[in-house]
């Protein structure tokens, strides 16, 4: 086919264009024609279609996500908020930290290894783009039933992919989650979080300003991979044969990304860029239009100067390609020589493909002919916005009326059996089969990683300043009540930071849902965003960025609403952190917070195939008092561990197994409730007996219930009359994953 230029678009207004195949609705196509005052060229159509896809334009979620800005609490720490590649927060001493979470769900189902690997690659580039050195990654994951054959295909591949890419980049993996549920069969969730650090003055933004400045593409050559990836995979129900004539799965090259990181950091250190953007979803279409849109003028790009891996690519394909490991920078002409020199040192291909112009158009040429001439904002920021219909699904009220019928054992044998059942269940069991495939030591600054409540990284070797991050979601609670589910996940993530002694500062999130075209799913989504925005306002934590993943569903069945909430906190001296477990005997164990009968959405209920009842209600005022208590009392805590999935039973098991030092605890009330209920807002703390009075004072001051549970020591976990030898418990805890996946 001959080249479709702007000129030919003007002379052939009636040419039939494959907008529907590219995922555009008739109204959307009409709007493009209206914006341009003519039909789009095929290259323009390609650009609009990928940029107006759900994945890139947030067209279904935008109206809801606005709340994060509207309800944002005042925060002195926020340096860069929503809208950039990642948010940036001030952590003191001149340091700025950026963090963000993103999904790579669909590709990871098709090709688990490469899907997960390129997911890590993408989020790391987002962090790098802010001017930061990436310092750690985390990976919240969801899979179908642990014993399903397909999970045996997907999980090991995903884990190897995350490890394969992250390890090769030299990024310690400091946390994540692994949860199994039927609804994720066919829809695994692979979310990846990255944290980066820089000095305040090094923050970079994605904008193309200054006419005459050069547009430089650097990193990997552009190939035919991932074309249609965003539009096909993310916009339409998965599985249909899309228009992609090229494979939509990309293969990652972590080595190329590693040198790209080092090369970029050297370029940043010499202050050689005016603006920078990574190439992720929608590739060059996204990078050029976003840079130009955020800048002061227009941009002129010679697309035929883009270095190709596959010379047969058409201009449309080059614009849509999602080839990995590429970046786009805006460089002043006086600095280009040095810029290219650094690229050469690292053996990174770099090519000037255009320049910033005075005008207000993004113009793209192909061998001298104009194939794109658009107002960049209309591509990048003025995509369609939908106020999709939403309706509370019928199940919500139905399941709320369900009375849970769960065995609540009272005799010792049955209780012991229940503890074993819980601790060896795939959701609760030891995850080191997975985490031992991740490097947690590289860079030499890891203070905490799995299985601690949060990951913690030292960012200054002299002052011992550090940051902690935790990601959490309880999809069962979100299913029962998405509004409360979001708040509870936020509270849990914040609590998991505070147990270590870090002060929560900022929030990121990845909202994984079914199809937005289903009003029930849309209601779940809206309730989740409302809950998270309200929760953040109440807790004074700004949302700094995030990601939305829709269409996680098979046929009519959507995944459980799964908002993964990441909270970042700061700790002044990492040497003073509180670990999750005691490292000595004869210390006193206490429970902070009150235990109610909270079995709805609990692990105990899940093990009995029940997902009904009323989810707990959050009390964020109280959560904040609990956090303040943990921070104020930090020096007296020998250990602090959040009580969440699996209740006090699992929390205690994890604590005694961490350092293989047992405990004796006495439960006065109904033991089954005390052990297995999942009332939020609870933490188990360990103190030296000399400090117990201080603890009592703190509990009184912050109005948190305090219950003495027992003492540390010995080779048993003893609960009332139940005696569990640690070696036996350890075996039950650690053999599940090797049995399933080894």
């Amino acid at each position: 086919m001959s080249l479709d230029t702007v000129q030919s678009a003007q002379t052939t207004p009636d040419r039939i264009q494959p907008f529907a195949e590219l995922g555009l609705k008739p109204e959307e196509y009409a709007r493009i024609r209206e914006i341009l005052g003519r039909r789009p060229t095929s290259s323009e159509l390609a650009m609009y279609s990928v940029m107006w896809s759900e994945h890139c334009s947030y067209k279904s979620s935008k109206v809801h996500l606005r709340q994060f800005g509207e309800k944002a609490p005042h925060s002195d720490a926020l340096l860069v908020g929503i809208g950039e590649n990642a948010g940036v927060v001030d952590v003191g001493q001149g340091y700025a930290v950026t963090f963000k979470i993103e999904s790579h769900n669909h590709p990871s189902f098709v090709e688990p290894y490469q899907g997960a690997a390129t997911g890590v690659g993408g989020i790391v580039r987002d962090i790098l783009t802010m001017g930061a050195r990436p310092i750690a990654v985390m990976d919240p994951l969801r899979f179908g039933p642990a014993d399903a054959p397909d999970t045996r295909r997907v999980l090991p591949g995903v884990v190897a992919g995350i490890g394969g890419y992250g390890n090769c980049l030299g990024l310690p993996n400091i946390g994540g989650e692994i949860v199994f549920d039927e609804t994720y069969a066919g829809n695994p969730l692979v979310n990846a979080l990255c944290i980066g650090v820089m000095r305040h003055e090094q923050i970079k933004l994605a904008k193309a300003s200054g006419a005459g400045n050069l547009v430089v593409l650097f990193g990997a050559r552009t190939g035919g991979d991932g074309i249609g990836g965003v539009s096909v995979l993310a916009s339409e129900t998965f599985g249909a044969d899309g228009p992609a004539k090229r494979p939509s799965v990309q293969v990652g090259d972590p080595f190329a990304e590693k040198v790209l990181i080092e090369c970029s950091l050297e370029i940043f250190a010499e202050d050689l860029v005016v603006g920078i953007q990574d190439l992720g979803g929608a590739g060059l279409s996204c990078a050029t239009s976003e840079l130009a849109s955020a800048g002061t003028g227009g941009m002129l790009v010679a697309l035929d100067d883009v270095p190709l891996r596959d010379p047969s690519l058409s201009p449309e394909e080059i614009l849509m390609s999602e080839s990995q490991e590429r970046m786009c920078a805006i460089v002043e002409p006086s600095k280009i020589a040095r810029f290219l020199e650094i690229c050469q040192k690292w053996d990174v291909t770099a090519t000037v493909i255009g320049e910033v112009t005075d005008g207000n158009r993004l113009v793209i040429t192909w061998h001298g002919e104009v194939i794109v001439e658009v107002p960049p904002r209309t591509v990048a920021h003025e995509g369609p916005v939908y106020n999709r219909p939403l309706a509370k699904p019928a199940y919500v009220d139905r399941v709320a009326r369900e009375i849970l019928e769960l065995p609540l054992p009272s005799d010792s044998e049955a209780l012991k059996e229940a503890i074993y059942k819980l601790i060896s269940s795939p959701n609760m069991a030891d995850k080191s089969w997975v985490t031992s495939q991740y490097d947690k030591y590289v860079q030499g600054n890891t203070i905490q990683s799995q299985p601690e409540d949060s990951g913690m990284i030292r960012i200054d070797e002299q002052t011992h300043l550090g940051v902690a991050v935790s990601t959490d979601a309880n999809a069962s609670w979100s299913y029962l009540n998405p509004y409360e589910g979001a708040k509870l996940a936020l509270a849990e993530a914040a609590r998991n930071i505070a147990t270590a002694g870090a002060r929560p500062l900022a929030v990121t999130n990845c909202l994984n849902f079914g199809s937005p075209e289903d009003p029930g799913v849309m209601w779940q989504f809206a309730e989740t965003v409302r809950g998270l925005a309200d929760g953040c306002l109440e807790m004074g934590l700004p949302v700094t960025g995030g990601n939305v993943s829709f269409y996680n569903q098979t046929g009519e069945v959507a995944i459980l609403p799964t908002p993964i909430i990441g909270v970042l906190g700061v700790i002044q001296d990492v040497r003073a952190r509180t670990p999750m477990s005691h490292s000595a005997g004869d210390l006193e164990i206490y429970l902070l917070g009150k235990t109610e009968q909270d079995f709805a959405g609990s692990e105990w209920a899940y093990l009995h195939h029940q997902r009904g009842g009323v989810a707990p209600t959050s009390d964020l005022k109280k959560e904040m008092r609990l956090i303040e208590l943990l921070l104020e009392g930090q020096e007296i805590f020998e250990a602090a561990h959040d009580v969440s999935q699996g209740g006090v039973a699992v929390t205690m098991c994890e604590m005694v197994l961490r350092n293989k030092i047992g405990a004796t605890i006495n439960l006065v009330d109904d033991a089954a409730v005390a052990l297995f209920s999942e009332t939020p807002g609870r933490v188990i703390v360990v103190v030296d007996p000399r400090n117990s009075e201080r603890l009592v004072e703190l509990a009184k001051k912050f109005e948190i219930e305090l219950t003495e549970l027992g003492r540390t020591g010995g080779a048993l976990l003893r609960i009332n009359e139940i005696e569990i030898p640690l070696a036996e418990l350890d075996l039950a805890y650690t053999s599940t994953f090797p049995r399933l996946f080894g």
Binding site: P247, V249, V251, F255, R309
Partner: protein, 90 residues
Amino acid sequence: MTELTGPTNTTKVVVDVMLKPEILDPQGQAVSAALPRLGFNFASSVRQGKRFEIEVEGEVTVEKLAEITKAAETLLANPVIETFVVKVEN
């Protein structure tokens, strides 16, 4: 199962798995870039794939070959990104 099978009455079937041409091949690229640095200039491109040597008991019948092909496409290769060829070595 032993690793070294006796040569008697087994046949060697080879499955070659290569990344599809349009898929990025970082390994092949690394080799391609290293060769000229070592003074070898013969290659205009290098791609790296996998080779499986399978010892098959007895005759390789048409049915067996079909089974091997099935195994290649389910286990040895991922057809989303790879192609494969099954060959019987004499």
